[in-house]
């Protein structure tokens, strides 16, 4: 998308900063027409396969410019000194336009969250934060999503043509018509074509081969929500993005901390693109969502030659990036059983940067207690083995044990025998081992009384 915008469309406002989705200089907005509304999300165009644009409204900075005058976001950025060298600026402006177009409440916190994938090397961000405050104030009167677009145009947030976009989008063929289903794969899967979801890992790791590979794209389909529930089984489509996970009422009901967890996963534009299946199949030993679902004992539904096969996530990883899966197996969805009421689900990630970072160590825990005994504890850790690791023996040990620091020390001793970290830029072996201990304790901290000293 980035090359198409700059080289074919000669729109050079969108900048090339890293081609790896790390800096946000190439951010564009991608609008989808669904449920009678436009839904705009920010994405990094450097990692977006052009095919993913099908049926979507792609907005670059040029598409946000108003004739002869600045839009509200741009004016706030100029007035507050939010631009210095200017190279990252356009990405910030586009992300903040996404904030203006979002259906969430226009709070400064949401505004700041919208730029969590944009790096600025000059300003130190404070001037941009002031611009966000101004924009948030200007958005205070924004009406409900159904009426927001004309209002945003009228108030000078957007150029006039945005008001006609819903009509124009409604006339487009539904993107899913010839493509793949967001929640299930309905086309012939026995092909060597690479299945591309958001592309956020594939285009970083294999940019040259991906350029020449046959690819199949995944499209959203309206009929099925990305996350659905039957009794106490929750299913999630393989093409569900990290952002969609965080918006799912089903998940939010049972995992109230999910938004806080997802904030630690890459950045807004990447969460808007990257899919659950992509995260699991990419098999990174440190994949955040992988660790999350390992603790929930998720079951994967693979589809090939019109046959479905169920594989526990815990059996998927055989070695570094080696999968218990046929190359033509397509990860259609996963499902898991909801934890029993009162269970705690925790996710911790330690990294050098607050957000937009790869973990040194991450860990998830599902904890069910009976009084002061552990009924069930399911622990997973990332970054300490060639694969994302379910701590099978540690988890088994904890079942039925009393909740006290002694139990945790014993559990740690077992966990230390399950992990095999290597020293790298994210930390030394000793540090990662220490982190596993600390995270184990952090998971149980809320259960322990004040008298148990964690450190």
């Amino acid at each position: 998308m980035l090359d198409f915008i700059r080289a074919n469309q000669h729109l050079t406002g969108t900048k090339t900063g890293c081609r790896e989705g790390d800096c946000g200089a190439c951010t564009v907005l991608v609008g989808e027409w669904a449920d009678g509304l436009m839904h705009y999300r920010s994405m990094t165009s450097c990692l977006m396969p052009l095919g993913n644009a099908k049926g979507r409204h792609i907005v670059t900075i040029e598409g946000l410019n108003r004739p002869n005058t600045l839009n509200v976001v741009q004016q706030a950025m100029v007035d507050e000194g939010g631009t210095q060298c200017g190279f990252c600026t356009v990405g910030f402006v586009v992300s903040l336009a996404g904030y203006c177009l979002s259906h969430k409440d226009p709070t400064p916190q949401q505004g700041i969250a919208s730029i969590d994938g944009n790096i600025c090397r000059c300003t130190g961000y404070k001037s941009i934060e002031r611009a966000v405050d101004r924009i948030s104030t200007a958005l205070r009167e924004r009406p409900a999503p159904t009426d927001a677009l004309p209002w945003l145009v009228q108030q000078g947030f957007l150029p006039d043509y945005f008001a006609q976009i819903p009509q124009r989008m409604a006339q487009l063929e539904a993107p899913g018509a010839n493509g793949l289903h967001a929640t299930g794969i309905h086309t012939d899967a026995s092909t060597d074509a690479v299945l591309v979801g958001g592309g956020t890992d594939l285009y970083v790791q294999r940019p040259e081969t991906m350029r020449h590979a046959a690819v199949r794209h995944v499209f959203r389909a309206d009929e099925q929500p990305p996350v659905w529930r039957e009794d106490d089984i929750v299913s999630i489509g393989g093409a569900c993005t990290a952002a969609q996970l965080g918006e799912s009422p089903v998940l939010l009901d049972h995992f109230p901390d999910l938004p806080a967890h997802l904030k630690l996963v890459s950045s807004t534009p990447i969460r808007n693109m990257g899919t659950l299946a992509g995260n699991l199949i990419n098999a990174s030993p440190i994949g955040d969502l992988t660790i999350w679902f390992l603790a929930l004992d998720a079951q994967l539904v693979f589809f090939r030659d019109n046959v479905r096969r169920i594989v526990p996530l815990r059996d998927l990883y055989r070695g570094y990036k080696t999968l218990n899966k046929h190359p033509h197996d397509v990860l259609e969805s996963l499902f898991f059983t909801l934890p029993r009421p009162g269970a705690q689900f925790r996710f911790e990630k330690v990294c050098k940067r607050t957000y937009l970072d790869i973990a040194s160590v991450n860990s998830a825990a599902l904890i069910e207690t009976d009084g002061d005994r552990i009924h069930r504890a399911e622990l997973s850790v990332g970054g300490v083995a060639p694969v994302p690791l379910y701590l099978a023996r540690t988890s088994a040990f904890l079942a039925g044990k009393p909740l006290n620091p002694h139990t945790l020390e014993e559990a740690n001793a077992i966990a230390q025998t399950e992990i095999s970290p290597i020293g790298d830029v994210r930390g030394s072996v000793a540090y990662k081992r220490l982190l596993v201990r600390q995270l184990l304790k952090a998971h149980f901290a809320t259960f322990l009384s004040e008298t148990h000293n964690l450190s």
Binding site: T12, T83, R121, C122, G124, V350
Partner: protein, 744 residues
């Protein structure tokens, strides 16, 4: 000068172009039939290329040529021709010169194709075989080979270590309180957001117009002219917008050489852009090992000070920076010794990076002073004030101005320093350890000669130009302000242009010297224009200005007025109309007053106070609050100046906690050469930052009395943070950045 806009928080005049995406950077200019070049980088660190197979690459549609050392054109013979205006002593790196590999990531081929995609794919098909030789890249393992750096022209702005004073050995041995300590930091890369790119437009007559990412268009022009033996007039370098520099654009980078070579050989326009990975294959802040000895009286008076530094450089050039001099200028210790050495290794030559040497040396001395304060049981700020000096002990001369004491006082008050409990680990809240630390910052306030042109057009608009740069600093804006006030025009009637070698010569943008240097040229050229206007006024019939001298008039509200009687006035438009339908044009050079300036040490100063929170269980550090007070002479624009200081402070946070290029010395290769793992702060890492500008008058530094503010913001931050972390945790980390693992 009647100050209408100088000193006011004017918004950036280039803001509109930048927020709309209309500002064009080096890779965004184009030409008919533009070809695209992609660089192939060496995968070994030292050795020879034994074989290059370009067959697969050349067989692809659209691939025009693959340049290697085997087929490159003949170029300038002598090293001299490859020395750009900022080259350190040595023999500059020549891309595609021969089969030798001198460092990992060295450019070894340029693939040129009709589209960028074709070139990029073809580049992946070039097969290169090497004969590897053992390499040395680890500074700490080769300290025994340290030697004095060669000196050259660069020492003009980078003085060698000061001469020893008193008798250090004796004073240190006899000092009742002694401290010997050391500090280390690794490689850092500038990583401006914009990737290095050059678009070379090949003119019909073979003349070149080059859009280059550079902090000094004249330097790129000089380099191209020398290397390719082209007259200056046939090379024009244009660089109106630069997506960040921080020093990386002080020297021409290899994409410029490669793009010009390809364009000349193919007689066609060529663009070469580097990748983010390749942004780690040229200059960097050098890894440095420092040692400091301090000897003090129980009351804190410093008797003895020794500061020694050893930094890495390449095998081919001796990069130097000023690391140890700052300690000697800041503290009046009567017995002092300084030493600075380099260790040549198999890597690219280091390059000035924001406050080069300054932030390095000050981080060490200000941490050492903090260590000493605990040894003495003395407040760290008290210790600084105890050893405060009004005279530069290195040069035994006064400072042109030094409001550092006011910086300490005002920043400490704003921060609430008196509420600090001195004991380490004494300010915890649950599992969060809180620490307060402080440090000092110092940076040069240099001025160089510069030229500028001013034109008052027939419709009364002022156009001023100078071949300087604006790498995000605010040059466009402050120069517009200076010009507007000098000739009494509103901002909207003034257009300042820069970044073009067709404009009058100015030095590159670096060392925080643009405001004083180019600002002086703009002031003088506008005054000269004012003098021309006065001449026109005097020639008018019955002119009330007939006997007026330039000192008798002033300019305000688009008019020239008599100081003695401001009701005597004339519109500038009327004066232009007197010029026979022609614009009025002046060119001027601002010279430095070396005689006067040489009598003074000219520095900007800062005091930094920082609060950190450390998670006791995980080692994560947050800088929750920082106050910097800056004394930098006159502040031309508090809005852009504040941005510069805040930006510098965030660089300081980055240097203290996040930023480091980590090398795997087995391969001599950087492991984290991308923005995912070369950490620079994200918005969520940055909390409360406060900036105070302390009033400071200085009529020595330059005619405007300004000291640059691009660098002073970073200088004191890393030490203040490290000191706050010690106060929080009781743990003294001697190696930057202080990552979580070092605190556990």
């Amino acid at each position: 000068m009647h100050n209408q806009v100088i000193g006011k928080p004017i918004s950036r005049v280039d803001g509109r172009a930048k927020v709309t995406g209309k500002a064009k950077y080096a890779a965004e200019f184009t030409a008919p039939d533009l070809l695209h070049g992609v660089v192939v980088s060496s995968t070994i660190t030292k050795g020879r290329i034994t074989h290059i197979d370009t067959g697969d690459a050349l067989a692809l549609d659209g691939v025009v040529k693959v340049f290697t050392h085997q087929n490159r054109p003949k170029l300038a013979w002598f090293d001299m021709s490859y020395k750009d205006l900022d080259a350190p002593p040595g023999s500059p790196f020549r891309p595609l010169h021969n089969d030798r590999i001198k460092y990992n990531g060295q450019p070894v081929a340029l693939v040129v194709a009709e589209t960028f995609e074709q070139a990029r794919y073809a580049a992946s098909l070039v097969k290169i075989e090497y004969a590897q030789e053992p390499h040395e890249t680890d500074l700490q393992h080769h300290l025994d080979t340290a030697r004095k750096p060669a000196s050259g022209l660069a020492s003009l702005l980078k003085p060698p270590p000061p001469k020893a004073r008193g008798n250090f050995d004796k004073a240190f041995t006899e000092a009742p309180v002694q401290l010997s300590t050391g500090y280390v930091h690794g490689f850092e890369h500038h990583n401006p957001m914009e990737l290095f790119s050059s678009t070379v437009v090949y003119g019909k007559d073979g003349k070149l117009t080059i859009y280059d990412k550079t902090q000094g268009a004249p330097n790129s022009q000089f380099y191209v002219s020398q290397v390719f033996n082209i007259p200056f007039r046939d090379v024009r370098v244009v660089s109106p917008y630069v997506g960040g520099g921080f020093g990386s654009g002080l020297r021409p980078q290899y994409q410029l050489f490669l793009a010009v070579m390809a364009a000349r050989e193919l007689k066609q326009s060529v663009r070469v852009s580097l990748t983010r990975q390749q942004m780690f294959t040229f200059g960097h802040r050098p890894a440095t090992v420092q040692h400091i000895d301090l000897g003090a009286q129980p009351d804190g008076t410093l008797d003895a000070l020794r500061h020694a530094a050893t930094a890495e450089t390449s095998r081919f050039e001796d990069y130097i920076e000023v690391v140890v001099n700052w300690s000697g200028a800041l503290y009046k210790a009567p017995n002092a010794q300084f030493d600075y050495n380099v260790v040549p290794l198999d890597q690219y030559t280091p390059l000035d990076m924001r406050a080069p040497g300054g932030v390095t040396g000050m981080s060490a001395i200000e941490c050492a002073m903090d260590e000493l304060s605990y040894k003495l049981g003395m407040d760290p700020l008290e210790l600084r004030l105890k050893n405060y000096t009004e005279e530069d002990p290195n040069e035994k001369r006064p400072f042109s101005s030094k409001q550092l004491r006011a910086c300490y006082q005002q920043a400490a008050e704003r921060f609430g320093w008196t509420k600090r409990s001195p004991e380490p680990r004494s300010m915890r809240e649950g599992h969060t350890l809180i620490g307060w630390g402080m440090a000092t910052g110092v940076w040069d306030a240099n001025q160089l000669p510069a030229r500028a042109e001013a034109v008052l057009t027939v419709n009364g608009k002022l156009r001023v130009s100078s071949a300087t740069a604006d790498i995000g600093t605010g040059t466009y804006t402050i120069m517009t302000q200076i010009a507007a006030d000098t000739l009494g025009l509103p901002l909207e009637d003034v257009l300042f242009r820069l970044g073009d070698t067709d404009m009058p010569l100015a030095p590159f943008q670096g060392g925080s010297l643009t405001a004083g240097t180019v600002g002086s040229a703009v002031k003088i050229v506008c005054e000269d224009l004012g003098k021309e206007l006065l001449k026109l006024a005097r020639k008018m019939p019955n002119s009330p200005f007939a006997k007026a001298k330039f000192d008798d008039v002033f300019f305000v509200e688009k008019q020239m007025r008599l100081k003695a009687d401001p009701s005597v006035r004339i519109d500038l438009q009327t004066l232009v109309d007197q010029n026979g339908g022609r614009a009025i044009r002046t060119t001027a050079t601002s010279m430095t007053n070396s005689l006067k300036q040489g009598k003074y040490t000219r520095y900007a100063h800062s005091a930094v106070f920082v609060e950190v929170q450390v998670d006791e269980d995980l080692g994560t550090v947050k800088v929750t609050r920082a106050v910097t007070a800056v004394a930098a002479g006159r502040i031309l624009n508090p809005k852009t100046a504040r941005s510069q200081i805040i930006g510098g402070m965030v660089w300081g946070i980055s240097k203290a906690l996040e930023e480091e290029t980590v090398m795997d010395h087995r391969y001599g290769r950087f492991m984290n050469h991308n923005l995912a793992e070369y950490h620079v702060p994200v918005c969520a890492d940055i909390h409360e930052l406060d900036v105070l500008f302390v009033e400071e008058h200085d009529d020595v530094v330059n005619p405007l009395g300004v000291k640059g503010v691009g660098e002073i913001g970073i200088v004191g931050m890393p030490a203040a943070i490290a000191n706050a972390i010690f106060h929080a945790t009781g743990k003294r980390v001697h190696e930057l950045p202080i990552t979580l693992d070092k605190l556990m």
